[in-house]
């Protein structure tokens, strides 16, 4: 508002107002009068400069007026020039089968002989035409016809699939989702060539009209999950969906929880694996993160890599991740409880070492740890915001120099730095960023409890978290399955990752219709292979 105001002439102001005036009740259908229809649509888009209106004429015996409308940035101009304009203006001169193009047969003639485009929709609904234009279709209006063609000319700048940033794996596919729904659906479909893979697409968002696709394998998934997800998606009423996380937050069971109840991933291979487990995936146009529902807590320390490596390695890595998640939640609290309440629990040399390191530190263990933890959180946030190389530099400066300097200055004890560092690293080991954040946050109340009640407080905090997690559901599936309710079959792919030959059933948490991913043992004949060579 600091700009100097220029005097605006009254006439300009009036025309401005006219251009932005909102039609109270726009007509529902086209009239058939080309000039009037073009003017109407022009008015409905408020004379936006990126919508192109082109009028021209065709016809052999008599003059037939036509008009093209498209959004400049969303179309493939080559297609419009070659397959629409050229066809209409150039080839309309040819007389086919003794039929000249006239005003009366123009509409049908064009569809049958002139439009060399695969996907065409015919409609007279103004709203539908507008929607089409705004998603990259080209509307073709013919004078004298109350209907228009919507030809698919969609094409816009898009990223090609690149390696996923957040969920990197050492061994496994390197492709990640992009921001374009069609590309993402293609990435999934290419890996799962099953006619039973069904894609249902919804249009969500009153203004953004975002395409949201629900994917599932019809004969694996439990139909109740599909019904519930469909109902929740249809119930969304919001002006815009900007990212898949909007959908996630609008359909999740409990918004008052720090724990994510729907899994998000940027890996097509993970989506396919989950579809095969009997889960559903939701892909939102404009977001490189697909959603997977229902999600259970155990999934948040699983990574696709567990299945790509040998099963023993998968199990080992899962235990490591579980440990690191536990550390990232409780380690500072345990440290505080030890040093301020229960030093007697440590063997004497260790207790002496700790108190020796802490001597001269002016703050209580709680304050010390709290300050360091907050510092690490600030560092982490800062390094995420900065571009790659600078972010790393900040991490090094923050981590090494600040830590070292604060120990030398005698403000914190070296042990605190170690604890805080392990905690921070532990929270990075979680394959799911969103669940790692939950643990990062819950660490602070635990620290407060530890400094007031020692181990009693830590226990109380952990129990409260357990009650909360147990009370969660994800699309009707208890969040803590397969632990509570306990499912023996589910244990084969929870902390353990058994080889496929032992875990022949799909995960029982989501109650799939088709339980078996491999034939039951003993059903098939003997294995072939080397024996045949010998015989």
């Amino acid at each position: 508002m600091t700009q100097t105001k220029k005097p605006i002439r009254a006439r300009e102001l009036a025309s401005q107002r006219k251009r932005e005036e909102v039609l109270k009740e726009p007509p529902q259908e086209l009239t058939g009068d080309l000039k009037a229809d073009m003017a109407l649509i022009k008015k409905l888009v408020h004379y936006s400069s990126d919508i192109v209106f082109r009028e021209f004429a065709l016809g052999t015996e008599e003059r037939v007026e036509a008009g093209l409308i498209y959004a400049d940035a969303l179309v493939n101009k080559q297609v419009i020039d070659q397959d629409i304009m050229q066809g209409l203006m150039h080839w309309a001169g040819l007389v086919r089968a003794g039929q000249p193009l006239t005003r009366s047969n123009a509409f049908q003639y064009i569809e049958e002989y002139l439009l060399t485009i695969g996907e065409i929709k015919i409609t007279g609904q103004v709203e539908e035409i507008l929607g089409g234009i705004l998603s990259g279709d080209t509307a073709l209006l013919i004078d004298g016809s109350p209907q228009a063609y919507l030809t698919n000319t969609r094409s816009w700048a898009m990223r090609t699939p690149t390696e996923p940033n957040v969920e990197a794996v050492i061994r496994g596919p390197r492709e990640g989702f992009t921001e374009t729904l069609i590309v993402n659906l293609g990435l999934v479909r290419r890996r799962l060539k099953d006619p039973d893979l069904k894609v249902e697409t919804f249009e969500i968002g009153k203004r953004t009209k975002t395409s949201v696709s629900l994917l599932y394998v019809v004969d694996i998934i439990n139909p109740r999950i599909v019904t519930e997800l469909r109902r929740r998606l249809k119930n969304i009423s919001i002006d815009g969906i900007v990212d898949s996380s909007y959908v996630e937050q609008l359909i999740e069971d409990s918004t008052a929880s720090p724990f994510p109840q729907i899994h998000s991933t940027e890996r097509p291979d993970k989506v396919v694996a989950n579809l095969l487990e009997g889960r559903a995936a939701i892909i939102v146009d404009g977001s490189p993160f697909a959603l997977i529902a229902p999600a259970v807590w155990a999934q948040f320390f699983h990574s696709p890599e567990d299945y790509y490596e040998r099963s023993q390695i998968g199990t080992f890595v899962r235990i490591i991740r579980l440990l690191s998640m536990f550390f990232s939640l409780t380690l500072p609290a345990i440290y505080i409880a030890f040093t301020s309440f229960h030093p007697e629990m440590l063997p004497i040399p260790l207790a002496l070492a700790i108190s020796g390191a802490r001597s001269g530190v002016p703050f209580s263990p709680f304050l010390e740890t709290l300050v360091m933890e907050i510092m690490v959180e600030i560092l982490r946030e800062a390094s995420v915001r900065l571009p790659g190389p600078i972010g790393q530099t900040i991490g090094i400066i923050g981590g090494l120099i600040l830590g070292d300097a604060s120990v030398r200055a005698g403000i914190v004890s070296p042990l605190t730095v170690i604890i805080v560092a392990i905690t921070a690293i532990g929270s990075f080991a979680s394959p799911s960023y969103s669940s790692a954040i939950a643990f990062r946050m819950l660490r602070f109340p635990l620290m407060v409890l530890a400094t007031t009640f020692g181990f009693y407080g830590v226990s109380v905090g952990l129990i409260l978290i357990t009650i909360h997690v147990a009370s969660l559901d994800s699309v009707g599936v208890p969040y803590l399955t397969p632990y509570a309710p306990f499912m023996p079959e589910g244990q084969k792919d929870a902390i353990l990752r058994l080889p496929w030959s032992l875990a022949r059933q799909r995960a029982p948490e989501v109650k799939p219709q088709d339980k078996w991913r491999m034939p039951r043992p003993g059903k098939k004949g003997k294995k072939g292979g080397l024996d045949e060579e010998n015989g």
Partner: protein
Amino acid sequence: MRRMDKEKQITPRQITSILASTIVGAGILTLPREVAAAAGSDGHLATLLGGILATLLLLLLTRLGLRFPQQTLMEYSDLILGRFLGKILSISFIIYWLLLAAIVVRIFGEMVITAVLTRTPLEVIIGIMLLLGAQLAAQELRVFARVHEILLILTFPLLLLLFLISARNVNLLHLLPVLAFGLLPVLRGALATSLSYLGIEIITMLVPYYTEQGQALKYHLYGAAVALVVYVTIVVISLGSFGADALQYLQWPTLEQIRIATIPGVLERLESVFIGVWVVVVFTTVGSLLLMVNLSLSHLLGWQKRNRLWHYLLILPMFFLARYPRNIVAVELYAGIISRAGLILITAAGGLLYLVALLRRLKGAGKENG
């Protein structure tokens, strides 16, 4: 009948967990001392026998409960004894549970303030524990069951591990001679231990919510077996570490036994860890007791559903009840009285109800679905 629409939400495994973690409560602290006083070096046999007696009582309650598969104890006692006597029974159960929960919390608080948090007021410890219990009881039943299940999986192995660490100090000679004074002390000890098995009555309130009632008996026995294993282990280790004579003079033998346990070079004096685990053990018991109180209270007041808020209101009287005993001696005295009264109440009520139901040929509506 409105009882027909009770939602089936507790799975068989959860029954086991609920039963085991409700039974194992404050008792594990004092049990070794009590059996040592009553049965000397045969304390472990007494514990075993007590467990078997408790299991028999559990069988009776199960039979009774399955006879009325759609109703809780409060509901079928109305049916069997008539509204007036039924109401009296309900009220006495409510009072008993309230007192039991209060005394359990108090014993817990006493131990925490003497063993670890010596400068924290008793009221704070008690208050937090009660709030925690109320938080559990206020959840939906299926969440309640899930919490029991997951906590059992997490804590009982840890508990047994702690006992195993302390097993280094066991001298099995302390368990000898076997049956030195005949069977009578063992019987007396068994009676004393069956007090530790209180909590089995929770099944009478939960049977109508089982998903698979046909399997109830089996999983009830599993639950009792878990408790039995924990108790016998504790008694064997305590007896073996201290001997029956010394054991009688220890205030909290289980705690002492864990206190002298070490993992050489790594951890010493594990009582803080034990208290961390013990918080869970006590908390599940308190939560179960609160739930039972509220379930029966809602029945008494004729409500369709239990009011979740009541759990938090109920902890007020419990808080003052828990504060009432003047010192630890008084606490032990009240604990003895309450648990004896409870044992008599459960046995008498169970036996009486089952007999009258048999004689009057009463059976609950709805069949046991397996």
